[in-house]
């Protein structure tokens, strides 16, 4: 039975590349080494209902059609729009992302990634302060203090601790967990916190305050701190600061507890400064726990193509960027968007109600392998191959490490890249290449 080794898992930002997939009769029947998420993702195409055929909504009902018809309809919608928005592109290959950006450019669209509802604020933080980081292998080999701040890897990144962090054995941590201390900062006593040496259960939304206190301690101003900080006794904050100072190599893994809470990116931005301050004493770095396996890739591709990692507005022919003004939910909430295309993402499930209401009102195009809440409001639905299972391509791990995804089985579905390429060709045909948006 053919077993494909070193398969790249395409679920979360860990991008584990050691899976073993058993392929029988062009189907994956077994996945070795994967976590529950990775197994569900890799075997998903053979277990769950797929969108089998392209569809166009007529009189409220989705009706099957050909790829050509759906692609033509999609192009017509985009060309007719004054304020089109392209969203998602994080559970797909960098090669597809490049095409999505080109399509946005040619249609004078906004384009944004799922970072809009995930780690977008982490990019804003990097713009404020930089991103003092390292590769996951460096963390595995060196880190003796691991802080999970506002993230819950037991649930969201199940193999993170064994492959890269708490339990991983590295060059200078040969005994794994025994050589490391682990801290969790979270308002909830999460499953990840069960094994922590220290849990700081702070008051929701006070991350910024706690970081301020830690920085004040590191910079020698412990005396000004009040007795209670972020709902925690001062002693507990001092304990964490002492652990940081005593570490030889510390790392803060941060999640949406930092990015989605009060102050948004100002917390991540201040974590970056805390890291810089701690490096006066010892070595410290940080890594954002990215959710979608290639959301990092979107940020990378978009940055080299447009200068900006997300929330890019091509309406005037050159990219403009300003989350808060050009992010997906910003413009949806203002009901500016008059056409929507999404791929490899599910805004129907993951956007707030106000945004989804607007998506029901405007023509929407979905490119995906599976039906989901987004299908409910989409007017054109185009089935796609699953990247990393049915087609190959590049993805970037949460630490910006590029890895090439494998094609494991044959498929008759078009890939995201092919679909986008065909929409671009159709858009050009419709416009006679008289591009909108300054061109």
């Amino acid at each position: 039975m053919p077993v494909i080794k070193d398969v790249v898992c395409t679920l979360c930002g860990c991008l584990c590349d050691d899976l073993e997939a058993t392929v029988e009769d062009n189907k994956i029947t077994k996945v070795g080494k994967a976590c529950k998420l990775g197994r569900a993702k890799t075997m998903g195409p053979f277990l769950h209902e797929r969108i089998e055929k392209p569809m166009i909504r007529e009189n409220g009902e989705l009706k099957e059609c050909s790829y050509d018809e759906a692609i033509t309809k999609a192009a017509e919608i985009l060309v007719a729009a004054k304020r089109p928005m392209s969203y998602g592109w994080c559970s797909t290959s960098c090669e597809a992302i490049e095409k999505a950006i080109l399509l946005a450019e040619e249609t004078g669209s906004l384009i944004d990634s799922t970072a809009n509802v995930c780690h977008g604020p982490s990019a804003l933080a990097a713009q404020e302060k930089g991103a003092p980081s390292c590769s996951l292998g460096t963390a595995k080999n060196y880190a003796d203090l691991i802080i999970f701040w506002g993230c819950n890897p037991v649930h969201a990144h199940p193999r993170h601790q064994t492959r890269y962090s708490t339990m991983a054995k590295g060059a200078f941590t040969p005994n794994g967990k025994k050589d490391k201390k682990m801290v969790v900062v979270d308002p909830r006593n999460t499953d990840t916190a069960k094994k922590a040496d220290l849990l700081l259960q702070l008051k929701p939304g006070t991350d910024y305050v706690l970081i301020e206190a830690l920085r004040a301690i590191v910079n020698g101003h412990e005396d000004v701190l009040p007795d209670e900080i972020a709902g925690l006794p001062k002693a507990k904050v001092l304990e964490l600061a002492e652990m940081c100072k005593a570490a030889k190599f510390g790392i803060i893994y941060f999640g949406m507890g930092i990015t989605q809470t009060r102050g948004r990116y100002k917390s991540g931005d201040n974590v970056s400064s805390l890291i810089s301050d701690l490096n006066q004493i010892t070595k410290f770095v940080m890594i954002g726990m990215r959710g979608h396996y290639n959301v990092t890739g979107f940020g990378q591709v978009a940055s080299w193509e447009t200068g900006f990692p997300m929330a890019i507005d091509f309406s005037r022919g050159y990219p403009y960027y300003n989350p808060g003004e050009t992010g997906t939910n910003d413009v949806l909430m203002r009901r500016e968007v008059d056409a929507f295309i999404t791929g490899a993402a599910d805004p129907g499930a993951h956007f707030p109600q106000e945004s989804v209401k607007h998506l029901f009102k405007i023509p929407a195009i979905q490119i995906d392998g599976y039906a989901n809440p987004t299908t409910e409001f989409s007017d054109v639905v185009i089935p796609a191959a699953i990247a990393g299972v049915e087609c190959d391509g590049t993805a970037y791990r949460m630490d910006c490490q590029p890895i090439r995804m494998k094609k494991l089985v044959e498929t008759t579905f078009k890939t995201d890249e092919e679909i986008l390429t065909e929409i671009i060709a159709k858009v050009r045909e419709l416009k006679g290449n008289g591009a909108k948006g300054g061109a």
């Binding site: 769950h48 209902e49 819950n152 929701p204 507890g257 948004r264 992010g327 910003d330 707030p352 809440p373």
Partner: protein
């Protein structure tokens, strides 16, 4: 009724059912609200009975679950359509809506929880 803070976030079951959002498995994984024992008792609600969670931005009905380790002032709903029915859409000038730390109330209800498709249908205006 209790006054509380809502946090939404990932869970492993929610993550493992992303590819089958039309299924019962996804509903089971994403449509519930976790409270601690004391809060469940205060509401007179047992596990799997429905609660109505309301914020300034909407209400949603989901079954109750127990998480003994939750603090008194926090409830949790997995990220997904049910949580997002009531999260704070304001992007605070940064692009990011408020998915965590939203003031909410929870009360017992006999109303049914909506399926994914039923919930989405309520957004058609």
């Amino acid at each position: 009724m209790i006054e509380t803070i809502l946090i939404s976030g990932r869970t492993i079951d929610q993550g493992a059912t992303l590819e089958e959002k039309t299924s019962q498995a996804y509903f089971d994984a994403a449509a519930y609200c976790e409270l601690n024992e004391g809060n469940l008792e205060a509401l007179g609600v047992s596990v799997d009975q429905n609660v109505k969670v309301a914020t300034a931005h909407g209400t949603v009905v989901v079954p109750a679950k127990i998480d003994k380790r939750l603090p008194d002032d926090i409830v949790f709903i997995p990220m997904g359509p049910w949580a997002n029915a009531i999260v704070d859409p304001d992007t605070c000038g940064c692009g990011m809506p408020g998915f965590k730390g939203i003031p909410a109330t929870v009360e017992s209800t006999t109303d049914p929880a909506l399926s994914m498709k039923e919930l989405m249908a309520t957004y058609k205006e």
